[in-house]
Symmetry: C2
Subunit: 698 residues, 2 copies
Amino acid sequence: MTEQLEAAVIAAQDAVTKQGDTVRSLKASAKEGKVQKNDVDAAIVKLQELKLDLDAKQKELEKIAGGKSSQSREAFRAVLAGVLERRLFYIPSYKIYNGVAGFYDYGPPGCAIKANITQTWRQHFVLEENMLEVECPAVTPEIVLKASGHVDRFTDFMVKDVKTGECYRADHLLEGTLEKLLEDKKNPLTAEQTKEARDLLSTVGELKEDTLGAALTKYACKAPDTGNDISAPFAFNLMFKTSIGPRGDMVGYLRPETAQGIFVNFKDLLYYNGQRLPFAAAQIGNSYRNEISPRSGLLRVREFTQAEIEHFVNPDDKSHPKFSLVADLEPLLYSRDFQMGDEKKPHPIRLGDAVSKGIIANETLAYFIGRTWLFFKRIGINPQRMRFRQHLLHEMAHYANDCWDGEIETSYGWVECVGLADRSAYDLNAHAKMSKVDLKAHETYPEPRMEEELKIVVASKEVGQAFKKDAKTVTEHLQSMNECDAMELKAKLEAGSGDITTIDGQTFTVTPKMVDIKKELVRKTGRNFTPAVIEPSFGIGRIMYSMFEHAFYTRGEANDAGSDDARGVFRFTPLVAPVKATVFPLLQKAELNEVANKVSTSLTAAGLSNIVDTTGTTVGKRYARTDEIGVPFAITVDYQVQTDNTVTLRERDSMAQVRIPVPEIAGVVKSLVDGVSSWLEVQGKYPAQQAAANSEVA
Amino acid sequence: MTEQLEAAVIAAQDAVTKQGDTVRSLKASAKEGKVQKNDVDAAIVKLQELKLDLDAKQKELEKIAGGKSSQSREAFRAVLAGVLERRLFYIPSYKIYNGVAGFYDYGPPGCAIKANITQTWRQHFVLEENMLEVECPAVTPEIVLKASGHVDRFTDFMVKDVKTGECYRADHLLEGTLEKLLEDKKNPLTAEQTKEARDLLSTVGELKEDTLGAALTKYACKAPDTGNDISAPFAFNLMFKTSIGPRGDMVGYLRPETAQGIFVNFKDLLYYNGQRLPFAAAQIGNSYRNEISPRSGLLRVREFTQAEIEHFVNPDDKSHPKFSLVADLEPLLYSRDFQMGDEKKPHPIRLGDAVSKGIIANETLAYFIGRTWLFFKRIGINPQRMRFRQHLLHEMAHYANDCWDGEIETSYGWVECVGLADRSAYDLNAHAKMSKVDLKAHETYPEPRMEEELKIVVASKEVGQAFKKDAKTVTEHLQSMNECDAMELKAKLEAGSGDITTIDGQTFTVTPKMVDIKKELVRKTGRNFTPAVIEPSFGIGRIMYSMFEHAFYTRGEANDAGSDDARGVFRFTPLVAPVKATVFPLLQKAELNEVANKVSTSLTAAGLSNIVDTTGTTVGKRYARTDEIGVPFAITVDYQVQTDNTVTLRERDSMAQVRIPVPEIAGVVKSLVDGVSSWLEVQGKYPAQQAAANSEVA
């Protein structure tokens, strides 16, 4: 019932948005004399009816759902999406060609906010931590992604509609089917069936090909669009493939993550850093994943901006010199224990305690969790709606030591926006092996140490006599044994069993006389080692979308009957707001415009982006328009400026207004935007605006 | 002779660079006790010998070449390239896998400079001009690039080595062959042959397939690496191709330019701008061209950053409201006339005069030439070494009205860094046709006008009787005639000749009774039209590389025998410098380090990127290191700080030093970086540093 009503609300909202568009375009045409006034009026009446209908449906939904949850997630999202698209925050790409799923364009406010978030990220991480920033190409030769494992393993399981050939993600399909079964009140599952379905649901993402196939068959999954049968699941590589150069013989891919560009440059970066560890490198850039069926707007797209950090450390010392700066923060941690416990809830935990109790594996990982938490707060994410979720053991790659996802709550549920992983030495080892280039760092011990070293001495005479022309092969084989193999051979030889060694299919019997294997204590002044890497990886688009949801709210009802302005507001922090201030002359008069332009010039000189709105509409409507793109401050120039040279300054969320002398206005806005002074302070210092002329309903 | 000597200088420089690397790495190993001191000394002696050799060769070259031109371009470039790569400004991508031609990574200083240039561009163009910034994906469906013409025509001619299959750009190959022939003193060409070769050389880039093939045959061009025969030239599309989605049936390309993303969004952007013209949209992003044989470092790469503007105007009014702000600038203009004249030299011309004399087609194009000139100056391009070259008529696309290239002089010659083109309505018309979406703007006349309008009235009775079931086809055909066809038909009918009209292969005879064609004067309040577009398109990597060349110089000789620091200096403007200041404690002492950290914190708080260099090397060497990445200001903390709380501030290019109180240092550097005060002013205000302790040779 709720579900149907929600769908009805969304449809009604949609109808209101569309009719709003119609009214707007009719009004524009009417101005040009192309449309009759009564056609416009009729459209406005229709719009009012649709709004009443929406209102009724929303109230009905509230009655059923009751309380806070009445703000249906889907309805909220539909209103938000309407504003985001209408004001060109972002729109589907290639719209005039009917679009391509998974691609979005950012329009002016989206672009500005994205630049602000990215710049804040650079300030917060790269500059404050002295990271080495790099920029590498997206087009990547196959060998790099072969080494990293992406060519072989960066896949999702896909099924096809056997009749239409349409493709679906196998895990999403199974998930959908299971959720429907579990929610089906008419044909309830038995307790046993319910448990089985729930267990399967919690591991859908990690199923192997055969188990996944069996489950799809067992639950009789069908193609959702047609109800047709589906194929067995098969692996589909998510990388966009291309060819580099004119010969056509060099396979390339668009990078699926920016990280590999840092790993392949490790040697040069280490040199740049004076051969010292730890250090971090960072990269902001676009990555590409050819998703099987993109959905959820900006949350799952095929081209997206990542900001990744690779922090290289000595694997034996993952302490962080600045950890004390975040040790007292208490982010919501959703540890493995909390996830497996009965309550299934995250709890605020002091990061210092999380490390000392072993909840988070090391200081460096915890340091980045703390810094991420601060970053989220800084750009306007609600701290009550972000958490750090630890990967369960079966979710982690075999080489990973510990992984946490920075998750933000949205209308889609908890969304993974940041991955923080201790990846050990996996990536550098993989590239060292494939490229045959040494990717090690050197550590000089504070003072020399005595360390055990493996010594393998081959008796060339004995080996030569025994194996003749193969002597060289056997000698090299023996000398290149790793510690484990060598000690095993030593044990066998000491047990007198001799050893049959196979090299390239040939068999050789080694005797104790041929080789001497021992461990010696050697004085060492240092060692070479492959650094471990702690990787915080940020999805900028997901963070941005989540921030949109946390910043958006609606205010009041439409304020005059024919109004087609939605009353949505974004409470963007001044830091990320696309425009810092708008300037309105109260009326379209030259003398007011002149002051407005003067104010605008002084704002620009102070480095504050601003727009002058000289349209003749009411100030209330112009405020609504500026609220809708989250401009924090609005300056109105009215006739009082001719008496006392003051203008009004309005704060977006409180809607309160004060009067400020023109020469001071840029300085006041600048101090508010930089966070040097608060709105309360400004209200204390300057007189409140009393008159109704500039009020919201004007 | 000069050529050989230049090659020798480059080789010698190379040897010095390599030996310098060896010395550096030996020194590092010696510190760890892995290498003997005398091995290091031997390497240093070798380095000194190589430097002497280089010196001798350079002097010899100077003697031959004489005067200023003695600074051989190639030798200059080799020294510059050594510094750029060693200090990680940029390096070939995927080095550990032996690289892939045409791809570069930016390291920390390169990244910082690129971010500064891009940010300056955004400030200079987007913010100061209130442009609408957008960000669109690089992955583009085929239909978009089919409409723009890239799928069919974005090609270069390629030839293959018939034996090895190696690929070459046909025009480059012909160019190289012609240049060699013209320079060959042993077998000089006749006057006639010389003229023919020169004429061909000047049009190589515009040759068609057959003429190009004939020329390659005539001049017996061979594969340069092997001397083998080459294939006939054939067109190779320069776009990277890929496939979108899992079905494999949607062809996509990586965009070869960012502009198309703006054109496909025109309708929404016009709406966003309140349906008003003119307005400009801008996009900064990466573009991709699968070059046949990339060369010339950053100048011809396969993935590069563009910053493009599409300024939409009424085709009947290309004036620019802010033109007066640039009218008095006098950039070097290399107009069509100057290029075709005898002198073949650009001249400084006032932009106002260039428009009034018709040298530049319109104000808007000239406005952007002026703004581009200012931008170049702002980021440190030498105004004497930049010019605007007008396209010759045969270089322009048929639809273009006027095109100018912003060119910068480098060691590679004049490099096209910006293209400024009046593209008329070509792009919007192309997308309107392909997408069938109306991409027109509306203009309301200041007052209604009487305009001629074509009226075609079909007499349905006559047509119906004559053509029966085909009546509808004929009627539609007649009604949809354009003005030209209609007037032609009218003339024929009036001449009494009747008309035989062919529709889809069928023939119909139209008589005067069937159709009435006339032009009527109609009262019009406005009109719909496709805007023209003026496109300034910037190649960020090319501009950046050219700026590197203009900023680089060398200073003095290596200052102590064993020094392995090159004495290169970048005179970056503070605006683009990767780091604004370095801070050195004179000695590795806790009390000096503490002050240095305090100074660094105050710089960071003022928003100034800075690094603290606490290595124990001499201050002279540390100055050299910081000069080499173009840091404009260096602050040294010596023991005088304990007496009077002052530190020294050194300006990079004059190397002059003043003493400044610690509490004032951040403010002084900030005012210098922001251009609020000059170094001369600072020198006037603070006492000069006298002591030798901090001098360059310490």
